[in-house]
C-alpha cells in the first residue's frame, strides 16, 4: 500500500483552483486595505432619472467583489474534496487524505444536512432556535458546533481505529501512512498520521470530541443550576444573604483558576476526599432546584405537587447518592461508602468526578453574578409587582416570573460558557490533570504532541484546530443568538 496524498486524484484540478482562490483573495484584501488607507470609499446608490436605483461602483467595490468570488472559489474547492471523497468512497488512494476523511465523516454530513433542512423548513415554528437561521453568523456557529456534536455521537462509526490502539511501527508516522500489515477489514491507513506511541491521530481527535462534549455541556448545566439557585434569592431578597453570597462568589472568583485546579486535582487532595465533599454540595443543587421549581408551581394542587416533587426527590436522590458514593473504592472516607452497593446505580470514575466538580466550582460564581444582576434589574418590573399583589410566594415569583424573563441573556451566556468550559478542560488536559493520561481528550493530546512539536507537528495540530473550531462555533452561535434575541 502506498502513502496517501492529501488531495488524491482530484489534486491536479482542485489544488491549483484552491491556490488561485487564496492568492486572489489575498490580492483583493491588500488592494482593499491600501485603497481604504488612501481614503477611497466604496460606491454609493444613485437615484437615476427613472427613479431606479443604481450602484455606482468604484475600485473599492471591485476589490470587495474579487474577495467575495475568491472566497466562493475556495469554498467550492473544499466542497469538491468532500464530494470527491464520497464518490470514491472505497478507494482511499484516489480520494486522498481529505477525501477519505470526508468519506469517514459521511454520517456527520447526512445528520447535518437533515438537521439544517428540517430546521429551515420549519423555522417559523421553532421560536428563537428558528430565528437563528436568519443570521448567517449564527448558522455558521451552529454548523460548527453540530459538526462536533455529530462527530461525538457517531464516533465509533467514524474513527477508523480505536483511541488507544497502538501500532508501534506507526510511531510519529506522517499523515496518510499505510499500516505495515493491515488485518482483515481494518482501515489500512493512518489518515492524519500516528502520534509518539503509534496511535491514530484522526481517530483520537474524533473520540476526543466525545470526551470533551461529554463533560463540557453537562458541567455548564450544573454550574447554571448552582448559580441560578443561589443567584435568584440573593438578587430578590438582597440584604445579608446577598452580602454573604456575593462575598463567597468573589472569594472563588479571586482564586486564580489554574491554582485552584492544581489544588483540587492533585492526588493528595483526592485522597483526602475533598472533591467528594465538594460534589456532595454541588450535586445537591439540581435536586433542590427541581424540587423548588415544581413545588412553587403546583403548590395549590397538593396531589399533583406531591407526585411530581416526590418523583424529583426520590429519583434525584438515588441518582445523587449513587453519583457521590462509591462503596467499592476503599480509599474514600467512610461517608462515601455507606450507600449500599445494590442501590449504587453507576460509578463515576474518581478522576472524572473531580474534573467535573472543579469545572462546575469555577463556573458557578460567574453564573451567580450574572443571575443576580438580571434579577436586580427584573424585580422592579410591573409584572413582578402584580404577582406580589396576587399573593404569590417568593419562590414562585423568582422561578416562574423572573427566570423566564431572564432567559435571553442566560441562553447566550450558556453557549459562551460551554466554550469557556471546553477551554478549561483543555487547560486541565494540557497540564496532565485531565481525566486519565490515556484519554483522547483534546487538551491531553495537545500536551502529548507538544514535546516533539518542531519536528513532528502533526499529532498536536488536529486536536488544537478541533478545539479552536468548537469554541469558535460556540462563540459565533452565542453571537447569532444575541443578535436574534435583541431583534424582538
Amino acid at each position: 500500500m502506498d502513502t496517501l496524498t492529501w488531495a488524491g486524484a482530484l489534486g491536479t484540478i482542485l489544488n491549483p483552483v484552491l491556490v488561485a482562490g487564496v492568492l486572489v483573495f489575498v490580492a483583493g484584501f491588500v488592494a482593499n486595505l491600501a485603497m481604504s488607507l488612501v481614503g477611497m470609499r466604496p460606491g454609493e446608490w444613485v437615484v437615476q432619472a427613472d427613479h431606479a436605483l443604481k450602484l455606482r461602483r468604484r475600485p473599492v467595490d471591485y476589490a470587495l467583489l474579487t474577495m467575495k468570488y475568491a472566497t466562493l472559489l475556495c469554498v467550492l474547492a473544499g466542497l469538491g474534496y468532500i464530494v470527491g471523497g464520497l464518490v470514491w468512497m472505497g478507494d482511499p488512494q484516489r480520494a486522498g487524505i481529505l477525501g477519505s476523511m470526508a468519506a469517514r465523516l459521511l454520517p456527520v454530513w447526512i445528520a447535518l444536512l437533515a438537521m439544517f433542512a428540517l430546521s429551515i423548513l420549519f423555522k417559523r415554528r421553532l421560536g428563537l432556535y428558528g430565528k437563528l437561521f436568519d443570521s448567517p453568523v449564527g448558522m455558521i456557529g451552529l454548523g460548527l458546533v453540530m459538526f462536533w456534536v455529530f462527530c461525538a455521537v457517531f464516533a465509533d462509526g467514524i474513527a477508523p481505529h480505536g483511541p488507544i490502539d497502538v501500532i508501534s511501527q506507526m510511531r510519529n508516522a506522517k499523515p496518510g501512512s499505510a499500516l505495515p500489515a493491515p488485518g482483515d477489514g481494518q482501515f489500512a491507513w493512518y489518515l492524519l498520521g500516528g502520534d509518539n506511541l503509534g496511535r491514530c491521530v484522526f481517530s483520537r481527535m474524533i473520540y476526543g470530541a466525545f470526551e470533551v462534549l461529554k463533560i463540557a455541556p453537562l458541567a455548564t448545566l450544573f454550574a447554571f443550576m448552582v448559580g441560578i439557585t443561589l443567584g435568584l434569592p440573593a438578587g430578590y431578597y438582597g440584604g445579608r444573604l446577598d452580602t454573604g453570597l456575593t462575598f463567597l462568589a468573589n472569594l472563588v472568583l479571586a482564586f486564580p483558576v489554574i491554582l485552584l485546579f492544581y489544588l483540587l486535582v492533585t492526588p493528595e487532595i483526592v485522597a483526602a476526599g475533598i472533591p467528594n465533599y465538594l460534589s456532595m454540595v454541588m450535586f445537591l443543587f439540581p435536586i433542590l432546584f427541581a424540587a423548588i421549581l415544581f413545588n412553587s408551581r403546583y403548590r395549590t394542587q397538593p396531589l399533583r405537587r406531591n407526585l411530581i416533587v416526590g418523583v424529583c426527590v426520590i429519583g434525584g436522590g438515588v441518582a445523587y447518592l449513587s453519583l457521590i458514593s462509591n462503596p467499592s473504592d476503599l480509599r474514600l472516607p467512610m461517608l462515601f461508602r455507606l450507600w449500599p452497593e445494590a442501590l449504587d446505580l453507576f460509578d463515576v470514575p474518581g478522576n472524572l468526578l473531580i474534573v467535573f466538580v472543579s469545572v462546575v466550582f469555577v463556573n458557578a460564581p460567574t453564573v451567580f453574578r450574572i443571575v443576580r444582576g438580571l434579577v436586580l434589574d427584573i424585580k422592579t418590573r410591573d409584572y413582578v409587582a402584580a404577582a406580589q399583589t396576587r399573593g404569590e410566594g417568593p419562590w414562585y415569583i423568582m422561578l416562574w416570573e423572573i427566570l423566564p424573563n431572564a432567559r435571553g441573556p442566560l441562553i447566550v451566556d450558556f453557549c459562551l460558557r460551554i466554550g469557556y468550559t471546553s477551554i478549561l478542560l483543555g487547560t486541565l488536559g494540557f497540564f496532565g490533570l485531565g481525566v486519565s493520561p490515556e484519554s483522547p481528550d483534546w487538551g491531553s493530546t495537545i500536551n502529548e504532541g507538544r514535546r516533539l512539536l518542531t519536528i513532528h507537528p502533526h499529532p498536536a495540530l488536529p486536536p488544537a484546530l478541533a478545539l479552536m473550531s468548537l469554541v469558535l462555533g460556540l462563540n459565533l452561535l452565542a453571537d447569532g443568538l444575541r443578535e436574534e434575541s435583541l431583534k424582538d
Binding site: 466604496p42 472569594l251 486564580p256 493528595e268 488544537a464
Partner: protein, 362 residues
C-alpha cells in the same frame, strides 16, 4: 471617596485572609504532609514514624495555630530535641536557642519559609522568578493593549460597517483560541524548521538557516531578543486581545450614539476629530476596568505559556511547586497570585470611580 477606599481595602484584606487560609488548608492536608514526611525522611516510614516526624518538625499542632505561625501572628514553635539536646523551631537557625531568635516569623515579618525541594529560602527563589514574569507581562501588555484598543475603536466607530464585521470576527476568533492552541499554531507556523514559513523563507534565501523565531524562551531568561521572545509574548497577547477589543468596541459604539456626538456632527466637526477628541475619552473608561481585570486572567495564560515555552518564571514555579508538593513555595506563589488579583480589583474599582465623573462627583 476615602470611606469607599477604606471599605474596599477592608474587604480585600478579609478576602486575602480567607483565600490564604483555604490554600493553607488544602496544602496542609494529611496526605500532603505524609508525602512530605516520606520524601524528607524515609520512603518506607510506618504511620507512627510519619506522625512522630511531623510532630518533631512542627506539623503536629492544630491547623489554625500553624496558619497563625505561618502568617506571623502566633509565636513560632520551639522544642528541645531529646537525644541531641539542641533547640529546634520554626524561627531558629541551626544551633540557635529560642532567646537568640525572633519569636514570630511568618508572612507579616517577611519570612516566606523554606522550599524543601530546591533547598533554598522561598524569598530567594520567588523574587527572581517574579522579575522574569514581569518582563513577559510587560511586553505582553505592550503588544496587547494598543492592538486591542485600536481594533476596538476602529470597529466601534462605525457600528455595523464592513470593517466592524471583519474586526469583530477577528476578535471572536482570538477569544476562541486559548494559549495552548495559539502557542502550538505559532510554533508550527513560525518556529519549525520542517514546516510552516521558516523552510519557505530559507528556500527563497531570505533567511540563512534556522527558523524565523525560536520555539523556546529559555535563552530569553538571560537576554531578551526579538528572536526568542516574540512567540511567548504574542501567544499571551493573542487570547487577551479579543476580549478587550470587544469591550472597547461596545463602549465606543455606545458613545457614538450619544447626544453630544450628534451635536458635534451637526455643527460640522470632522469625523476624525469627533472620534479622537470627543468619543475616545469617554469610550476608554470601560476598557480600563477590563484591562485591569485582565491581569489575573492573564495569570493562567502566563502559567501555560511559561510551561509551553520553557520560561522559568512565576507560572513555571507554581506548576513545579504544585506537582512536587513543595508546600511553602506553593503557599508563597498563591499569596502572590491572590495579592495580584485583589490589588488589580481594587485599582480597577477605584480607577473606575475616579475616571467616571458621574460617580466621582455624586
Amino acid at each position: 471617596m476615602a470611606f469607599f477606599i477604606l471599605r474596599r481595602t477592608g474587604v480585600m484584606i478579609l478576602t486575602a485572609l480567607c483565600l490564604t487560609f483555604v490554600v493553607f488548608f488544602l496544602t496542609n492536608l494529611a496526605p500532603n504532609l505524609e508525602k512530605l514526611a516520606k520524601t524528607q525522611g524515609n520512603a518506607r516510614m510506618s504511620d507512627a514514624e510519619v506522625a512522630s516526624w511531623l510532630d518533631r518538625n512542627g506539623y503536629g499542632g492544630p491547623l489554625v495555630v500553624r496558619y497563625g505561625e505561618w502568617l506571623g501572628v502566633v509565636p513560632g514553635w520551639v522544642r528541645l530535641d531529646e537525644p541531641s539536646g539542641q533547640w529546634r523551631g520554626r524561627c531558629l537557625a541551626d544551633g540557635q536557642s529560642p532567646d537568640q531568635a525572633p519569636r514570630r516569623c511568618g508572612l507579616l515579618q517577611g519570612d516566606l519559609g523554606y522550599s524543601t525541594v530546591s533547598n533554598d529560602e522561598v524569598a530567594n527563589i520567588i523574587g527572581g522568578r517574579l522579575a522574569l514574569t514581569g518582563v513577559l507581562m510587560f511586553w505582553a501588555f505592550a503588544v496587547m493593549v494598543p492592538a486591542a484598543l485600536v481594533i476596538g475603536i476602529l470597529a466601534g466607530m462605525r457600528e455595523g460597517s464592513r470593517t466592524d464585521r471583519a474586526l469583530s470576527t477577528f476578535s471572536i476568533g482570538t477569544t476562541a483560541t486559548p494559549e495552548y492552541v495559539s502557542g502550538v499554531l505559532f510554533i508550527v507556523l513560525l518556529a519549525s524548521s520542517q514546516v510552516g514559513i521558516s523552510p519557505l523563507l530559507v528556500n527563497w534565501g531570505w533567511l540563512d538557516g534556522g527558523t524565523l523565531f525560536l520555539g523556546s524562551a529559555r535563552s530569553a531568561m538571560d537576554d531578551v531578543t526579538f528572536w526568542n521572545f516574540t512567540l511567548p509574548v504574542i501567544t499571551i497577547a493573542f487570547y487577551g486581545i479579543g476580549y478587550i477589543a470587544r469591550m472597547t468596541r461596545a463602549a465606543m459604539a455606545e458613545v457614538m450614539t450619544a447626544q453630544y456626538i450628534r451635536t458635534a456632527r451637526l455643527k460640522g466637526v470632522s469625523f476624525r476629530n469627533i472620534v479622537l477628541k470627543h468619543a475616545l475619552r469617554n469610550a476608554l473608561i470601560a476598557p480600563f476596568t477590563v484591562i485591569m481585570l485582565q491581569i489575573p486572567w492573564l495569570l493562567t495564560g502566563v502559567v501555560i505559556v511559561e510551561t509551553l515555552f520553557n520560561y522559568n518564571g512565576f507560572g513555571w514555579t507554581l506548576v513545579q511547586a504544585a506537582s512536587n508538593n513543595d508546600i511553602e513555595l506553593l503557599l508563597a506563589c498563591s499569596v502572590v497570585a491572590v495579592f495580584v488579583v485583589l490589588l488589580t480589583q481594587l485599582i480597577s474599582d477605584i480607577g473606575y470611580v475616579f475616571l467616571n465623573p458621574r460617580i466621582r462627583i455624586s
